[in-house]
Symmetry: D2
Subunit: 314 residues, 4 copies
Amino acid sequence: MTKDTFKDHLNNVNQFNISKKTDIISLINNLRGTGFNAKRLALACQIYEKMIRDNECVKFFGLAGAMVPVGMQGIIHDFIGDGFIDILVTTGANLTHDIAETLGYHHLQGEVDLNELDDANLRQERMNRIYDVFLPDKVYEGIEDFISELEIPDHNMSVSSFLKFLGQQLPDNPHSVLKIAAEKNVPIFCPAFTDSGLALQLGFHFQKLNLNHFKDMLEMVDLAWDATNAGVCIIGGGVPKNFIFQSLQFCPTSAKYAIQITMDRPEPGGLSGATLSEAMSWGKVNEDAEHSMIISDATIALPLILWYLKTLFP
Amino acid sequence: MTKDTFKDHLNNVNQFNISKKTDIISLINNLRGTGFNAKRLALACQIYEKMIRDNECVKFFGLAGAMVPVGMQGIIHDFIGDGFIDILVTTGANLTHDIAETLGYHHLQGEVDLNELDDANLRQERMNRIYDVFLPDKVYEGIEDFISELEIPDHNMSVSSFLKFLGQQLPDNPHSVLKIAAEKNVPIFCPAFTDSGLALQLGFHFQKLNLNHFKDMLEMVDLAWDATNAGVCIIGGGVPKNFIFQSLQFCPTSAKYAIQITMDRPEPGGLSGATLSEAMSWGKVNEDAEHSMIISDATIALPLILWYLKTLFP
Amino acid sequence: MTKDTFKDHLNNVNQFNISKKTDIISLINNLRGTGFNAKRLALACQIYEKMIRDNECVKFFGLAGAMVPVGMQGIIHDFIGDGFIDILVTTGANLTHDIAETLGYHHLQGEVDLNELDDANLRQERMNRIYDVFLPDKVYEGIEDFISELEIPDHNMSVSSFLKFLGQQLPDNPHSVLKIAAEKNVPIFCPAFTDSGLALQLGFHFQKLNLNHFKDMLEMVDLAWDATNAGVCIIGGGVPKNFIFQSLQFCPTSAKYAIQITMDRPEPGGLSGATLSEAMSWGKVNEDAEHSMIISDATIALPLILWYLKTLFP
Amino acid sequence: MTKDTFKDHLNNVNQFNISKKTDIISLINNLRGTGFNAKRLALACQIYEKMIRDNECVKFFGLAGAMVPVGMQGIIHDFIGDGFIDILVTTGANLTHDIAETLGYHHLQGEVDLNELDDANLRQERMNRIYDVFLPDKVYEGIEDFISELEIPDHNMSVSSFLKFLGQQLPDNPHSVLKIAAEKNVPIFCPAFTDSGLALQLGFHFQKLNLNHFKDMLEMVDLAWDATNAGVCIIGGGVPKNFIFQSLQFCPTSAKYAIQITMDRPEPGGLSGATLSEAMSWGKVNEDAEHSMIISDATIALPLILWYLKTLFP
């Protein structure tokens, strides 16, 4: 911070009201004039807006956390369907749960007010818990039926090619992430694919399967290499964050726009909570990048960002 | 959790979309069918709605954190102005900053990307930092001018009586918390009053001042005692949370509704992060209470709750 | 950070081993050569050591959180007994619980694996919960017996004078904070005193009581004013942190040493989680101060610091 | 919690002192009688002790976070060298940094008090930042020299086989994780291997490389299947946590002992912060398991646990 840039930023904090005229655009515009995480959220909305308006921007989206189980499947679906995501990097878990919902199974809403005895009882009822969301064991049997009937064209294809094939095999569904990505030709990368129930079932049924993870890695580097401008939106952190960032080191300009929504903090040193400024030292985020890290549960912040974008780009 | 109540709650998770028909009511209703903190936010909206619809409910509101400096002064003002708060408990800091804004001074929006050298420079410029919000030292001189001219009617009055007197002395302002509370006859309690810049200036100017904190404490107990139903909304935690809860132990039914928005966590044992269920063991929250704790920055969650309430109760 | 100071700090990270020769001094010295919160802990140990070696340093200690209930009463007692604290600022809760233990009552160890039904049952058994620590209601009756027999010499004394009087009335006890503070003439400030069970009982029994909180506030300012050097150690945050810091603005040099142990984070803007660097902009911490904020549960970090200090200063 | 088990656990909280007789064993024993995270740390020490004393226990260790860069390489090395780990699951980053240190390069200690300009300057100096630890770009050139000379025996081997091969090629070093694991025949799994600088360099140099991730996945399942008793210690969370737990679903008894050290919280629903009780509903942790989750920076807690274990098992 130089003295000059400091003075440039000294607007009055905006003390605003909510009224019957308030809509998502005016709310975000008002929050832009405040501070703390409200300002960060508003800034993230504006940065994503710029990513969309910038025709040369390749939009990388990292998705960690149990976002499909919790009810954000349709939100991710729409981000892809509306063209707000060009490349998705996610966890095997989100894909496993996406298949479950796409096949017509459902996650269940429960209570979180549980003690150990309750968890033991859930085990007896073969009911798996993800905080306050539940998934019956028997859903995995349904996924297995689907998996077992796959005719995999190539045992050494990349994971992303396999995921596109998978999306094509799935039935139509208004919320499916795998389906809409296959339709829209948005590649899905999943670097820790074997760390998932989906991969376990594949491994049990197709013993010769050796999906080529290195091919994905190099393809992702090529995509970054070819990106004139790069924009990043990270939900959570984890492997998707690192995988996108390790590729953006090979992007000619590194990320020009960067957003992250996370509850992690930087002080324990893990990558998930690392600031976007830190990524500048690695050449992952450009030193002139517009960036905003929102410290928030993504289930609150992400629908608001989509609402803002959908209203601007109907 | 008994097996029966467990099965009663097993609705499908709601996989929803955002569309041009989305408004704050439909968004909250959709989030109610999800999980994690999105569900908690939706639940909090519905609980606050019930608190307002319940004519016998006395609504206690605890406000900690730098909510006035950051741009939430108008939000709190409207909560009071619209009748959504019956009793406010807050920190001396929020009151000090409320006076500043009410007198026409402004907090300033800055950047948080600062190092120690920047903070040292801010000191040289007499610019005080609250994360990414700034307040020039000279604003305190303006507050001091206002304070020094007060003619305090009673040196041994309670803090809440003094704060009402203060609200009456302040000029009209569309966002002022002290002003609207005085107008609406909503008492403001501030148990840690001497822990504030406002009290320091009072102490320097009025050496005989001995505002009676015990009178406030007992008055608050009386208010809880008289509440047929009690509802609580806590922003942050700290002294306001404890002060409300220690009084509700004397409420015939303890809190029937309870909401908290905080970033604190329960495991280190401090009261700010303690669950609302824990408060049941103390008789502060009723065992049948509807309650929701949102883990979120209040600058994001609180405007959404107000927007929901204002739309329902225009 | 200038380029020069940056290069000055570039030591190799210390990859160390634990062996049978390891003691608390060597452990801390080894951690000093690492990073993240381990380094911050080691740095805090060294800063506290300097505060003790600096004969002109007045050591302010802020104590928030349920440290007495959880088993840290003896740790705080020893900090005072060994001369490591000159001025204590704490919450009414810690004092209430200190009286309970000093009178021979005990907090109880429980399990945290509880659901709402358990909390309701605890209520039935009149057993109050503080995370995984429990306190039977009947202990409050014991405190009340003690309170009701007090002969308070002056109804308008300051809170700190009253707390000294209280310490003198309590029986001898090897862990009592109030007792050792009275014996060692270490003043205890409690700005939010009426926010406590102790104050409630006092208020019920002594209706004329009007402890003068402003007297405390001004006395604290005088103590800061007179401090040639000031050192601060903050456990938690809250009112004790702010009360110490608002006084240190009047210290000729502001804090020369500053330590905080907290789980709070700066981004939501509350004072508890604010960095010690931010305090420099206010003139609360000197721009040349040595400071360390440890992101840790204090129940882990504080005994380690005391162990380090006791070993150095036996 | 039944009423009976509740009453069984009601010991008095232990108010203890530190003295010159204090050693790591007595400190941990004292903390066992307290609450909050101090008790959890003490419990974790005792659980790890039992894992070691149980001759039939297979000890799974999950390692996420930048533990090697920060100075914990020797700690992990000793856990393996002393036989406290039977199977290690970690991130590609820790392995990349382990190679760097093992080849004689060093991470550097820096300051965290940086702004964006500093990060931009670091980029100019080709100095990569991991919170307050730094690694010069040129170290990656040294790793590349090592990688480029490898003669990989099989391009389709599993990742764990490759990592054993790698450990054998590395020079002797008193802290090397890969080296000691190869020597002690402790398998290292790395499910997200291609999400690392190490894999990028391998991919660039060995274009035919297709390490078989599915082979690792199935081997890990076999190891869990064969474990009479299983014990788990998770540092951080992330992929290593999930990969161990998805395998333990196939362990006849699931985990009998479980420890996690993390700063994540359960409410946002991600697996890293999920409670160990939640894992019971999945059959990953046994309903009778002894378990402890410590909310702490691992750089503080892990050396203490090792110190405790090394003192007990010299």
